[in-house]
C-alpha cells in the first residue's frame, strides 16, 4: 500500500519553461497539464462529503463536482460545470491565488499537498478553448438594459451573469481593448493575451456588447447612460492613478510607475518595439520598489527586456510579501534579487536628469500595525546608495477619480473609493452598483469577479422587482 499513499501526498507538478530559457522570451512560463497529468491529479481528490474547498471560492465553484468529472475523463462536462459559476476559467486557473482560497481549505491539504484546483481549472478551460467553445443555453430576453463600466474581471463577470439571465448588456471600456488589468497589467508570460481575448469573446457570444474607447465620465456620464435607456449601471472601473513615494527625484527619467511600465509592455507590446510603435527603456540595473504580484510582474518583465540585474526592494521581509508564493518562486528561479527591510529615500540623477542612483535606508520591523504586519521603521545612519539606471515603482494605486467627479450624488470614502453595500454592491444612487477595485481598493482578480457576481445578482433582483411593480401599476 506504500505506493498509492505516496501518490496522495504530492500534487502533480505542472511543467514549466526552464528559467534560463524563459528569461529570454515572453511566452507563458507554466505550460499546462496533459490529460494524463490532469486525471492523475483529479484522482487524488477524496470527494469529501462536506467539501471545504467551496468555502474558499469567491464565486462558489462546485469544485468536487468538476474534479470528479475530470477523473472520469468527462472534460466537456467538467468545463460546463465550471462555467455554471465562472465565466473566465482559463484566466482564473492561471492567476487566482488558489493557495489562499479553495486550496487552503482542501482536506487533503491538512496532511499533504492540497489538490491543485487552479491547475485543473486551467486544464479544462484550455481543452475547451482548443476544441472551440461550446455555448450555454441563453434565457429569454427580459427587455432590460444594463451598462457595465469597465471590461476587467468584475465587469466581465457581471456582464456574463446578466447576459445569461436575459438582460441586454453593454460593456463600456475606456481602453482600446477589453480585459482591464488582465490585458494591460498581467504580462504575457503569466497570462497570454490570446487567452484573455478568447474568454472575452465567450462573453460576447453570451450576448454582451463591447464598446471600447468609451471613458465613462468623459465620453458619456452615468446620467447619459440612463438617458440612453439603460435601467441599471455597474461601475467596475478598477484601480487608477499610481501611487508614488513622494521622495526627491521621483520625476527623473528612467523612473516608471508599474502601471506605465506594464501598460507599455503588455497592452502596447513595447517588447516588440520598433515593430510596434510604443517604446520602453530598460537599463542594465533595474530596481522595482514593492512586493506584490505587480512588482513581481514588473521585475520579471524587466529581465526579459534585457536587464543584467533586477532587484526588488521591499521595506518588510520576505514573509510579509503580498505576492503569491508561486510568483516569488518564479522570480527567484529567474534570478531576480531581493533586498528586504530596505526603502528608498531619494533618487539621484545624472547630468541628463536620468536616474543613476538610489539612496536607501535599512528598516526594522516593530510592533504589528493595523495590517497585522510589523511596522517598518528606518534605522538611523544606515543609508547607502544603490547604482540603478531604471526604477519601477509598484507600491499600489488609488482609485481613478473621473466617475466620482462627474456623477452627482455618488458617495465615496476619503480614499476615493465608491461606497457600496457589501452584500448588494449598491451605491448611494438607486440604479447604480459598483464592485471590484473601484469599491474595495486594490485586490485580486477573483475577488473582483466575486463582486461582479454579487452585483449581477442584486441588479437582476432589482430589475425583476421593478418589472413586477410596473406590471402592478399598469393593471
Amino acid at each position: 500500500m506504500g505506493k498509492p499513499k505516496e501518490k496522495m501526498k504530492h500534487s502533480v507538478p505542472m511543467p514549466k519553461q526552464k528559467p534560463k530559457v524563459r528569461i529570454h522570451n515572453f511566452n507563458e512560463v507554466a505550460l499546462g497539464y496533459t490529460e494524463e497529468q490532469a486525471v492523475a491529479e483529479a484522482e487524488r481528490c477524496i470527494q469529501c462529503p462536506e467539501p471545504q474547498c467551496i468555502r474558499g471560492c469567491p464565486v462558489e465553484l462546485d469544485i468536487p463536482a468538476f474534479v470528479k468529472l475530470i477523473k472520469e475523463r468527462k472534460f466537456d462536462e467538467a468545463i460546463r460545470k465550471v462555467k455554471e459559476k465562472n465565466s473566465l476559467p482559463a484566466i482564473c486557473g492561471r492567476v487566482c491565488p488558489q493557495e489562499e482560497q479553495c486550496q487552503k481549505f482542501c482536506t487533503l491539504g491538512k496532511k499533504w499537498e492540497p489538490i491543485a484546483i487552479g491547475k485543473l481549472e486551467r486544464f479544462v478551460a484550455d481543452s475547451e478553448l482548443q476544441k472551440g467553445m461550446q455555448l450555454l443555453p441563453l434565457s429569454t430576453p427580459t427587455g432590460k438594459k444594463v451598462a457595465i463600466i469597465g471590461a476587467g474581471p468584475a465587469g466581465l463577470t457581471a456582464a456574463a451573469d446578466l447576459a445569461k439571465l436575459g438582460h441586454e448588456v453593454v460593456i463600456f471600456e475606456a481602453l482600446h481593448a477589453p480585459g482591464g488589468v488582465l490585458m494591460y497589467g498581467i504580462p504575457e508570460f503569466r497570462l497570454p493575451k490570446r487567452i484573455v481575448e478568447a474568454e472575452v469573446a465567450y462573453i460576447s457570444k453570451l450576448g454582451a456588447k463591447m464598446r471600447t474607447d468609451a471613458l465613462i465620465g468623459r465620453s458619456f456620464t452615468i446620467d447619459d447612460l440612463f438617458k440612453k435607456g439603460f435601467n441599471a449601471v455597474f461601475i467596475a472601473s478598477g484601480a487608477g492613478l499610481p501611487r508614488f513615494l513622494r521622495i526627491p527625484g521621483e520625476n527623473l527619467g528612467g523612473i516608471y510607475s508599474a502601471n506605465e511600465f506594464l501598460i507599455r509592455v503588455n497592452l502596447m507590446k513595447a517588447y516588440q518595439f520598433p515593430k510596434f510603435d510604443t517604446p520602453i527603456k530598460v537599463g542594465k540595473r533595474v530596481t522595482v520598489i514593492g512586493s506584490g504580484n505587480t512588482a513581481m510582474d514588473a521585475a520579471r518583465a524587466a529581465l526579459r527586456l534585457g536587464a543584467d540585474e533586477v532587484w526588488v526592494v521591499y521595506r518588510r521581509s520576505r514573509k510579509e510579501m503580498p505576492a503569491r508564493e508561486e510568483e516569488i518562486e518564479n522570480a527567484e528561479e529567474e534570478g531576480i534579487k531581493f533586498k528586504f527591510l530596505t526603502t528608498p529615500v531619494r533618487f539621484i540623477g545624472d547630468e541628463q536628469d536620468w536616474i543613476k542612483g538610489m539612496e536607501c535606508i535599512a528598516m526594522k520591523l516593530g510592533e504589528p500595525d493595523e495590517s497585522g504586519r510589523g511596522r517598518p521603521t528606518p534605522i538611523k545612519g544606515s543609508e547607502f546608495i544603490m547604482d540603478v539606471d531604471t526604477v519601477v515603482i509598484a507600491i499600489g494605486r488609488t482609485p481613478n477619480p473621473i466617475i466620482q467627479r462627474t456623477t452627482k450624488g455618488l458617495e465615496t470614502t476619503k480614499w476615493g473609493t465608491v461606497i457600496i453595500n457589501e452584500q448588494t454592491g449598491q451605491t448611494s444612487l438607486e440604479r447604480v452598483y459598483a464592485g471590484g477595485d473601484i469599491a474595495t481598493g486594490e485586490a485580486t482578480v477573483i475577488s473582483a469577479m466575486g463582486a461582479g457576481k454579487r452585483a449581477a445578482k442584486s441588479i437582476h433582483e432589482y430589475l425583476m422587482k421593478r418589472e413586477k411593480q410596473d406590471i402592478h401599476k399598469n393593471t
Partner: protein, 296 residues
Amino acid sequence: MQKTERTRILGTANMYRVLVKKDLAPQIKLVKVYAPDIAEKAQPGQFVIIRKDEKGERIPLTLADWEKEKGTITLIFQEVGVSTRKLGTLEVGQTILNVVGPLGNPSDIKHHGTLAIACGGFAIAAAYPIAKAFKHSGNKVISILGARTENLLILENEMRDVSDELYISTDDGSKGYKGFVRDLLKALIEKGQSFDIVYAIGPPIMMKTVCEVTRPYGIKTIVSLNPIMVDGMGMCGACRVSVGGETKFACVDGPEFDGHMVDFDVLIKRLRIYFPEERKADELYQKLGKSRHGQA
C-alpha cells in the same frame, strides 16, 4: 482574416473615418474625423487619445474644433515622428482605429475682461477653441501668434475671426514682428495694455518664457501642458508634472495649470525621455517606409 473577425466580435473596430484632410503648412496637417459621441461632448481645452492602427502608439492630440451637428472633430498635428507621420498618410475615406475622448478638464470659460492668448507653432490649433469660447462669452481677446517662419503659421484667419486684436511674430521676421510671442506680449504690457488673464499654449519653452514675462506683473497665466501620455485617463502616471512642488497628472488634473506654479524644466526633460528611440524608429520608418508598416 481571422484577426478581422475577432476584432469585429469584440467590437473594437470603431469607425473613425477621415472626412476631410488638408495640408496647412509643411508637415502640419488637418484631419476632420467622424466621431459623433466625442463631438457631442467636446469642450475647449480638451484632447483625445488616438491610436492609428494595431501597432500604433496612443498619442494625445488637442481638439482643434468640432461640429456637433455633423458629428465631426478636427485634429491638427505636426509630423515629428512615426505616429504622426503615419497619421499624415491617412486619406479621406480611411479610418483611425481608436479615438477616445474628450479627455482632460475643459478650460474654465467665463468672463474675465481682457485676456491674451499667446500661442505658437501647431499649438495655435489647441488655442483656437479656447479663444473662440472666451470671445463668445464676452471677453476682449487679444491673440498673439508665433511661428518659426511665415509658411509655418497656421489658422491666422480663424484666429482673427475670434480675436479683437491679433499680433503675429516669426522667429525670422518673414511675417509680422521678428522675434518671439513673449516679446510682443511684453511690449503690449509695457505700453499699458492690461490683461486680466493670459493663456499660453505652445511648445514648453515658449510657455515657460511667457510665464516669465507675466510673473513680475502678477498676471495670472494659464498653460496647457502636453507631456507624454499613454492611456490619457489617469492610469499610467507618465504625464506627471510638478506643479507648486506637487506631482500632478496632466490627464486628470490638467491639462491646464497655473503657469507660474509649473516646473517647466521637469516637463521639458520628461518630454525628451524617448528621443533616441523615437529617432531610431523614425529613421527606420523613413527608410522602410509604408511597405513595412502597411497603409490602413
